[in-house]
Symmetry: C2
Subunit: 111 residues, 2 copies
DNA sequence: TGTGTTACCCACCAATAGGTAAGTAAGCAT
DNA sequence: ATGCTTACTTACCTATTGGTGGGTAACACA
């Protein structure tokens, strides 16, 4: 059982740790749905909320914060009142769109 | 926002529900690691346990049960003492190997 | 003055996931 | 008799996740 993953001139991280991290990143009841929503459009907070029916405000705010922290989403606040805040996928966020697509394929088989 | 997924002559399931189900199926701290372990070998319970360091017995047993229920893993008990039990990936289980591979690629970027 | 708007925050609660440590069955070797 | 082996089970506990229902800022408009 030898770690298979190489990083040029850097430490070698065992596959299981990498998978664990990736699972951390993509999991959560709503996260992939939010990413999927943001796939083609820049959306305001309220638009995301309406696009993810069933999610609570607390969780949506928390998810968006984490997605920003992870570098997957960018937040832009315009200093207006009432407030206007826009969220858009970053390039890093786009790297997980293939996962979303795979999930769409695979999910069918388990319905 | 029109549901994009068609099933010939069957009900149309909204994309978000499919993604949600898929996330349910693949999530859990250890599940993808177990699947990855079983990728090329049929393994006994104890071998899996040693291959997933850190997992508790309770959780491992529970995960294996769920994977069997989901049809992703097959369990074979030989009526021996001390017991011998083998676990192997099913074809259905193999359908999520592409997800594991994607996770391996993506996980890197978030380490 | 009062109401609506929007994107939040907060205190509290419930459900689920995961961890710990002990025990069990049944046979074999000592 | 005793202990070793293996694949579990059980009771109990903690941590994380998610949900509920309220509040707030700051301005525009009636």
């Amino acid at each position: 059982m030898i770690p298979e993953t190489k990083q040029t001139n850097e430490e070698i991280i065992p596959t299981e740790l990498i998978i664990k991290k990736a699972v951390e990143v993509i999991c959560g009841k709503w996260r992939m749905i939010i990413i999927h929503l943001l796939r083609e459009k820049v959306l305001r907070y309220g638009e995301i909320k309406r696009g993810v029916p069933g999610i609570s405000e607390k969780v949506l705010v928390h998810e968006l914060k984490q997605l920003v922290e992870l570098g997957m989403v960018e937040k832009e606040s315009f200093g207006e009142v009432p407030p206007r805040v826009e969220y858009r996928l970053t390039d890093k966020g786009r790297t997980i769109l293939p996962v979303v697509d795979l999930l769409k394929e695979i999910g069918q088989a388990f319905m």
